[in-house]
Amino acid sequence: MSHAVKIDGDTRFGLPPALIGRADVSRVLREIEQVDYALEEQAIRTPDQPLTIPAMSRALVEVITLNNIDITNLNERKRLLNSLRGVKEKAPNIQVTFAVDPAPNITGQLVTWIRQNLHPSALITIGLQPAIIGGCVVRTPDHIYDFSLRKRFKDERPALVQAIKSVVARQ
């Protein structure tokens, strides 16, 4: 699935679901720097021979695939490095807090939705707060969106009070 989105005619750099937060991006960035270094070294030492792509992690492979990058091409490697550095420094961060530790597939589902609907390079931080009971709390750079069960209990308090009063009145 391509996460690269076109905005104002430009294709923005996308991140795969495997890269969730800034730490993942940093790790992939270090890896691509190492790959870049290795391929440059190969190009210098054996210029006549085709480049051998070193072993890469699944996350890096996904990044390359998603953004249609030719890793053997120096310019594209540099573009990838710049994009990753840009993402690491400037990509918006969303903090999502759950009541329980989410399973990887749940996290992937959430990350996919966020990058498809909100921002293709959004970085997500997963938090844990059992007090919210259920649902989640989403914190964007400027707002907090409370989708938790605790908030729903608070919002529906008048209904609970009414229900109790009607029971008491019946008695």
Binding site: P92, I94, F98, A99, V100, P102, A103, N105, I106, Q109, L110, W113, N117, L118, H119, A122, P130, A131, I133, G134, G135, C136, V138, T140, P141, D142, H143, Y145, F147, L149, R150, F153, K154, R157, L160, V161
Partner: protein, 211 residues
């Protein structure tokens, strides 16, 4: 009044004692004199006869003088006896009058005192009853006031607890659900709801992300 009474009673007692003494003496002499009297009369009569016949100057003799003396003594004793009898009767009368007077006075005094005592007892009883009634009324008033205060406090406490409960109901329910459900919440079932709610806020969130 009391001193007079005592003096009268003392005089009466002394008079009675005198009477008794005189009576005893008189009766003693009387018995002896009675026999002696009969005897002496007879003897005197005989002696007068004899003397008249024997001596015209017997009235100047010792025996005549003795006889006169005896006669005088007898007369004197008779007078004394009569007077003693009169005195005795008088004293008896006086004593009975004094008794009556004392009875009347003492009875009157005792009745007055008993009446006063009874009245004071009644007054004390009445005062005690009034005091008890006042205490009962005060206790009842205080009980009513306490009941009202208690009711008010209970109502206030109930209202406060209800207000606290209503204010913290959400927290209470949250706590209850959290304790009941705990870690058993499955996010997989919640994801459709979460995504639906995020979809509703998508535009706002996107604006935040692209600022």
């Amino acid at each position: 009044m009391d001193k007079t009474l005592i003096i009268i009673i003392g005089a009466s007692v002394i008079g009675v004692a005198l009477i008794i003494l005189v009576a005893v003496l008189a009766s003693g002499d009387k018995k002896k004199d009675g026999k002696d009297k009969q005897k002496s009369k007879k003897e005197l009569a005989e002696s007068y006869e004899k003397l008249m016949q024997d001596n015209i100057y017997h009235i100047f003799s010792k025996e005549f003088h003795e006889e006169l003396r005896n006669k005088a003594r007898l007369d004197f004793q008779k007078v004394i006896s009569e007077n003693a009898m009169f005195l005795q009767q008088d004293l008896r009368l006086t004593t009975s009058e004094i008794n009556e007077y004392l009875k009347k006075e003492i009875s009157g005094k005792l009745e007055e005192e008993f009446a006063a005592y009874q009245q004071s007892i009644k007054d004390v009883q009445q005062a005690a009853v009034d005091s008890l009634n006042k205490t009962v009324a005060a206790a009842q008033e205080q009980q009513v006031a306490l009941m009202q205060q208690l009711k008010k406090d209970v109502e206030a406490e109930k209202t406060k607890m209800i207000a606290e409960f209503e204010a913290n109901m959400a927290e209470i329910v949250s706590y209850y659900v959290l304790k009941a459900v705990g870690q058993q919440i499955d996010l997989k079932d919640q994801m459709p709801l979460i995504l639906r709610e995020m979809e509703a806020q998508k535009e706002s969130m996107r604006r935040d992300m692209w600022l």
